[in-house]
């Protein structure tokens, strides 16, 4: 990378972390466990989510190790099944869904709309506790022998053919679901009702827009999953089923209800990430996001269309072919808004003044990988190719490109971007840039071969596979180890930076968002007094004017 940077730090010799901030306000464990402060709750979330991310990651490591050789030699088949099931459950419901919204979103949305806190602080805390309870249930499941349904709980397998801990897992997800419902509800209300004077809808940062869209999906989609899981549990306990073909039920009904949530869920996962990218790209190219309205509305469009495409997970499951037509068509439509976003971000760079701090590197990684992930999604949305590609490693590669390559990149980008605001200290730039590059390389090594494996027809969820697939699997595993390093590095240096990082000051990135106009770490009340939004989002002229004023006043 070049020397050019926008980072402007205060004079380290004199600079101090402000004595009064949300971290130092009160001390003691209780002041954290009973807090209503969205920033503290976000911090709690960040810790718990990182914890689960590494559990899920460790499981992923086991999976890759097992797949190093064609035979199932590292672990027995049923162990392998439990491992990938828990990997799926933990990564989806305990990392991806809450990742950006519950941590970064929780921390920023009130500040971005210029409010003192989320609309319902207690509910916010409740949703964290629900998350923790669900987390314990999930861990209990693992400790007591695990579950091997796959995270999709396909009936009748999950209801009548397995004697693992399906119920506790189901309930764990049920509780986690309500945690995310409450988060989403809180966001929507906050964004509608808590905006500071002058903060019109079209002055909101795009991060808020995309979280708003995701929240709508959380609120309206998750309950359907909840009731579906309730029915699963009832079917296992009381033992009569609307999902059991032997009793006259219909297993496809389960698929419909399950995917009615679980397809929008992937938008719950990706939309907030897109929000992060909008912020980062704009900041590091010193430029208003190209076509603000288009990007904003494309988020909402994704949210709305997202409810009408779920059956594309069932093309070969014997749903009516007319339904296949309808859903395939709608799937193609939902692909468009994502394309719009990508190009808008690309053109945000146009005539910008670009620098490459770590968040920007991650953002670039996102744009590249998400483009691949999105386009391969079209392969699966087109009914004809779906027949061959679905249920193979192609689909695995596809959603890992979107989730890991897209969402996780965005998450890390956001963490680095707002780290100075969160902790008041900078992360070490060079090593973090290295981490970003390592992650990108490792990621491609890991998941690109899986596209080829998928085209070759290697089925997913196989503990053992025909020998001719081994070379690519070895590649994949090798890449995974690099990827692992890429994810461990941030933990290390971010923790390090908590104590030794350079003092960041209010606005190290020269960014325009309201959150940057207050001290970092912020006050518990976010702002000394409620700000008044008197300029558009991403208005860099305004920022410069401000700074000139300050300089003059000093």
């Amino acid at each position: 990378m070049s020397a050019a940077t926008i980072v402007t730090l205060p004079d380290q010799s004199t600079a101090r972390i402000p004595k009064m901030n949300f971290l130092t306000k009160e001390n003691g464990l209780l002041s954290w466990l009973l807090t209503g402060d969205h920033k503290r709750i976000a911090t709690l979330y960040l810790i718990s989510i990182t914890f689960f991310f590494f559990i899920g990651g460790a499981l992923a490591g086991l999976i890759r190790l097992e797949l190093l050789t064609p035979q199932s030699d590292l672990m027995a088949a049923d162990t392998y099944n439990k491992v990938f099931t828990m990997h799926g459950v933990i990564m989806v419901f305990f990392f991806l869904v809450p990742s950006v919204p519950a941590t970064i979103g929780n921390f920023l949305i009130p500040m971005m709309v210029g409010a003192k806190d989320l609309a319902l602080p207690k509910v916010n805390l409740l949703s964290w506790y629900l998350y923790v309870v669900a987390g314990f249930m999930a861990i209990y499941t693992m400790a007591s022998g695990g579950v091997d349904t796959g995270w999709t709980f396909t009936t009748p397998l999950s209801t009548h053919y397995l004697n693992t801990h399906v119920i506790s897992t189901g309930l764990a997800i049920f509780v986690a679901g309500f945690s995310s419902i409450f988060t989403g509800l809180n966001f929507i209300v906050t964004i509608h009702k808590m905006r500071c004077p002058g903060m019109t809808w079209f002055r909101l940062p795009l991060f808020v827009w995309s979280n708003y869209a995701a929240s709508i999906l959380m609120v309206l989609g998750t309950p359907v999953l909840a009731i579906t899981l309730v029915l699963i549990v009832l079917e296992r306990t009381v033992g009569i089923g609307v999902f059991d073909p032997a009793k006259g039920g219909d297993p496809l009904l389960f698929q419909h209800l399950f995917w009615f949530y679980s397809h929008p869920a992937v938008y719950i996962m990706i939309l907030p990430g897109m929000g992060v990218i909008s912020e980062v790209v704009s900041t590091f190219s010193r430029k208003r996001v190209f076509g603000y309205t288009a990007v904003a509305f494309s988020s909402v469009a994704i949210a709305v269309f997202g409810f009408f495409v779920w059956a594309h997970h069932m093309f070969i499951m014997g749903i009516s072919n007319y339904a296949v037509l309808v859903f395939s068509l709608l799937t193609m439509l939902v692909a468009v808004p994502s394309a719009i976003k990508i190009f808008n971000w690309a053109f945000t760079l146009y005539k910008g003044s670009i620098t490459f701090e770590t968040p920007m590197l991650y953002a670039f990684g996102f744009m590249g990988l998400f483009t691949i992930g999105g386009l391969t999604g079209v392969f699966l949305g087109a009914s004809g190719t779906d027949i061959h590609l679905t249920e193979t490693y192609f689909i695995v590669a596809h959603f890992h490109f979107v989730m890991v390559g897209g969402m996780l990149m965005a998450f890390l980008s956001g963490i680095h971007f707002w780290w100075p605001k969160w902790t008041g200290r900078m992360y070490p730039e060079k090593i973090s840039q290295l981490a970003a590059v390592v992650t990108f390389i490792g990621f491609n090594f890991t998941f690109f071969p899986q596209f080829i494996l998928g085209m070759l027809g290697m089925p997913r969820r196989y503990a053992a596979y025909p020998p001719e697939f081994q070379v690519l699997n070895v590649f994949s595993t090798a890449g995974a180890s690099i990827l692992g390093v890429g994810y461990l590095l941030p933990i290390i240096y971010l923790t390090w930076s908590l104590k030794y990082g350079a003092i960041a000051g209010n606005n190290p990135w020269q960014a325009t968002g309201l959150e940057w106009q207050t001290q970092s770490p912020p006050l518990t009340e976010n702002f000394p007094e409620i700000p008044i939004m008197d300029h558009e989002a991403y208005d860099y002229e305004w920022l410069e004017a401000q700074q000139r004023k300050e300089v003059a006043s000093v």
Partner: protein, 253 residues
């Protein structure tokens, strides 16, 4: 709250205004009581949306199964007692009314009336659950508890259940169809049970509210809680308004 007239101007204005004499029930992060009321009210509505979708899955299942196994669902539903059902509907609707009146008297700051109506709602809610339990126990006696205590004899041989038979003169169902009646009762218990659960939660909250209403909690201009609970209660009422015809009535012919 009725008399307060805050306009957009003031709400916005109060932003800069110092955080002065707030009423005790206003939370620190709100700019005004109005904003707080709006916000919590909107939040309640959103919560009701999730509730709608929560029941949505059950309605979908019912719709599908009923169309697949029509005869079974018809005859199974004949086992329900329209009398009890109607009574319950009436009870629940009137409880909705008393709840609405409760909200009104809270807005009017009439403590006595508020407590009175809340207690009335409380009683009506209990009445509903009472009737429901009578119906459930009936099912238990008739071996219509799916999965636990079930027999299809009433459908393979309707005469075995004279009082239902003399009313409907059901033809005996062939065994494979009769076995599908269990699906009906499963959905019946799932839906009414889920509804009853909401009722129980509601009643518990009501008890808490009555207690607090006695200490002027809601009659000093802060009706938000009562109002929002009202929304919840009416929603539960609406669910029943649909369950009643779906489960009891539409299969009479």
């Amino acid at each position: 709250m009725s008399d307060s007239t805050v306009t957009a101007q003031e709400t916005a204005g109060s932003a800069q205004a110092h955080h002065g004499e707030h009423p005790p029930y206003q939370r620190h992060h709100f700019e005004s009581v109005e904003q707080q009321f709006d916000t919590t009210n909107f939040a309640m509505w959103l919560f009701l949306l999730t509730e709608v979708m929560f029941f949505g899955g059950l309605f979908m299942a019912y719709l599908l199964m009923r169309n697949w196994y029509y005869p079974a669902f018809v005859e199974a539903s004949h086992q329900l007692n329209i009398g009890w059902g109607t009574a319950n509907t009436a009870v629940l609707i009137s409880s909705s009314f008393t709840m609405a009146m409760g909200v009104y008297s809270a807005e009017m700051r009439r403590k006595g009336a508020l407590v009175f109506f809340l207690v009335l709602t409380f009683i009506l809610g209990l009445a509903f659950l009472g009737i429901k339990s009578i119906e459930y126990s009936e099912k238990w006696e008739k071996f219509h508890i799916p999965g636990i205590r079930y027999s299809t004899s009433a459908f393979t041989n309707p005469q075995s259940d004279p009082e239902v038979y003399k009313e409907y003169h059901d033809k005996p169902l062939p065994p494979d169809m009769a076995s599908k009646t269990e699906l009906y009762f499963f959905l019946y218990f799932a839906m009414t049970g889920m509804h009853a659960l909401h009722m129980i939660i509601g009643i518990a909250i009501l008890g808490f509210m009555i207690f607090r209403a006695k200490n002027d909690a809601y009659t000093t201009g802060h009706v938000t809680f009562v109002e929002n609970f009202g929304l919840y209660w009416h929603f539960v009422d609406i669910i029943w308004i649909f369950l009643f015809p779906l489960l009891y009535l539409i299969s009479r012919y």
